[in-house]
Amino acid sequence: MTTTLRALLGATALVALSGAAMAETTITVATVNNGDMVRMQGLMDDFNAKHPDIKVEWVTLEENVLRQNVTTDIATGGGQYDVITIGTYEVPIWGKQGWLESLNDLPAEYDVDDLLPAIRGGLTVDGNLYAAPFYGESSMVMYRKDLMEAAGLTMPDAPTWADIEKAAAAMTDKSKEQYGVCLRGKAGWGENMAFLTAMSNSFGARWFDENWVPQFDQPEWKATLDFYLNLMNQYGPPGASNNGFNENLTLFQQGKCGMWIDATVAASFVTGKDSTVADKVGFALAPDNGLGKRGNWLWAWSLAIPSSSDAKDAAKVFIDWATNKDYLALVASKEGWANVPPGTRTSLYSNEEYAKVPFAKMTIDSINSADPNAPTVKPVPYVGVQFVAIPEFQGLGTSVGEIFSAALAGQKTADEALAEAQTLVTDEMKAAGYIQ
């Protein structure tokens, strides 16, 4: 940029400032196409009425595509976006890189202390809040009350993996296309590895020891994978190695699964209008093995401002609007309490109206039982329950996910898969310089 151009731009900026609040600022908001975000776009009249000087341009994309575009933009300092939707995996890494604007100066009415501690902790780096949670989720067991009853079983509120296996066996009737349990098998760090990593925590396993040495050769991982493969091969649907969140959701909604262990946000779908089993669903905490950790994860889709944004103030105004208490009330008044973005604020869970939502209590109990800062039985050098918050994890998780998916498809034994994962992760950690 030439000096003249700089001077010109500077002058324009001055004019813009003196032009005061009348000047319209346009912000570009990038978000995933999940239901809660789509609902937000439908409620923009409220924002526009309150902030006529800010114009919002939406970029709504499928999760994978959004992540690809946003990461490319932020890592190259592109400055295309003013507000981005990212998860608890990205926030600690990007915050540390200095790619995100801190949100410490949100107004007092925002009541930052109202944010759920587990969620807030996951979005804070060195005491700085780098993203505001839009909705939070953990994972839990969703099961068919009618099938359990028919089998003469009851699901405890806090089941063990042995309970799950017993229930799966009792509810499976393959001749009627009814499978005891549906779990993620589709390869991906956010698909089968989110589930398996969280599950492994309850078996006492961990990705790395304190010195970043991969632990797939340890008996805890063997126990995890053996249990998972056995459960799925005996009581799972055929072709499960290609089932992710959406595929399992469809199966459960069609009444083909006895149990499904997955994201708490799924609760509103399985009890919603597209579900054939809406009135027959019960909820329970994710299973454990008596080791003190449950197999549930913690995730929050959150709004953050890239440092490269040139409309940070307007972006902050938007984030405040989209994640404060008034927004929750707004959604409740327009769409009902069941559709309020869950899992971000303590006050929501002390609201009597919200307590009537069938999955409210189990959601908050699940979220509260996950601790991203101490996710495993044995000590680990990383943060994150169903992921490891290091830049390399996306690649690692995807590759290991493929290996485990192949094991589920019957192409590899559990031992082969674990040995392969151990070699692969060891090589990559060496290449990345964590270990010698």
Binding site: S241, E247, E402, A406
Partner: protein, 290 residues
């Protein structure tokens, strides 16, 4: 008519295309070559530097590499065989005078209009899905177990989907080639008592050689780079059963954000493409002569 001045004029006229394509090729190629020798991960910006052949070695040492190479060739070869064979048969069929030829042809080329990611998603979810797919319903209708397409036959499934996308292209090129074949020649052959097969073998097929060559050349260029359909359907799996070289590069670029490795993969892919192109030209090049 190749006078000195017309040669010069011709050069001038070709120049813009050549210069533009030269820039379009050389700049990204040079950048890719540069990055392929660098440690460059988008999410670890603090650590950069020269790494020699490390990125290339990663590909060669990867247990998936040779399988991916094989899968890439299998995908290209499989789709070419299917589209050319079916394309010839369908072209022969719809070349016959039939009612509603206009609509018929639009139906045949319609798959070409569907965006590749959508096509893959439709096939995966509405057709091949083991519980909700149409194929599963058909299988059950016959009392059979649904086939687990993407789990048991991932590469064949991908080849099937891509073939469906490219069949219209092949069919139409071959169809128009057929249309220019003079009917007198065929009738004369029929009079002489040539069988349907020998008419096909000695008159129709030779006439279509150039069209077939064009189909093979153009499709090969596009097919060598395919990764979107694999990402949508099998994610290269199960395991690495349906991983191709472009998909391997895709994983490094998109999942691992390792630009250095992706660049090295790109260079390897270009070399592979050139080898394939060399053999294609040796085998088919003279078909292009007039």
């Amino acid at each position: 008519m190749s006078t000195q001045s017309s040669r010069l004029a011709a050069r001038m006229m070709v120049a813009p295309s050549v210069v533009l394509l030269l820039i379009w090729m050389i700049v990204p190629l040079a950048m890719t070559l540069y990055y392929s020798f660098r440690f460059y991960r988008l999410l670890s910006p603090d650590r950069t530097g020269w790494t020699g052949f490390t990125n290339y070695l990663w590909f060669f040492n990867s247990p998936d590499f040779w399988l991916a190479l094989w899968n890439t060739l299998a995908l290209v070869g499989g789709v070419l065989v299917i589209t050319v064979t079916l394309g010839i048969l369908i072209a022969l069929l719809i070349d016959q005078p039939v009612k509603g030829q206009g609509l018929l042809r639009i139906l045949v080329i319609a798959p070409f209009f569907v965006m590749p990611p959508v096509a893959a998603s439709i096939w995966e979810n509405l057709f091949m899905h083991p519980q909700n797919g149409l194929f599963a319903a058909v299988a059950r209708g016959f009392g059979a177990q649904p086939i687990l397409f993407l789990e048991q036959y991932p590469m064949l499934s991908v080849i099937g989907i891509v073939s469906w996308e490219w069949l219209p292209f092949a069919t139409l090129i071959l169809l128009t080639a057929l249309q220019s074949l003079s009917s007198e020649q065929l009738e004369a052959a029929e009079m002489d008592g040539a069988s349907a097969f020998s008419r096909f073998r000695y008159i129709i097929l030779p006439h279509m050689t150039r069209a077939i060559t064009v189909v093979i050349l153009i499709q090969t260029i596009f097919l060598l780079g395919i990764f979107g359909e694999i990402f949508t359907t099998t994610q290269g799996g199960p395991g690495s059963a349906s991983t191709t070289l472009p998909y391997m590069i895709f994983k490094q670029a998109i999942a691992a954000k390792d630009i250095g490795r992706a660049a090295a993969g790109g260079i390897i892919a270009v070399i592979l493409a050139n080898i394939v192109a060399y053999f294609l030209m040796r085998g088919l090049g003279r078909n292009l002569e007039n």
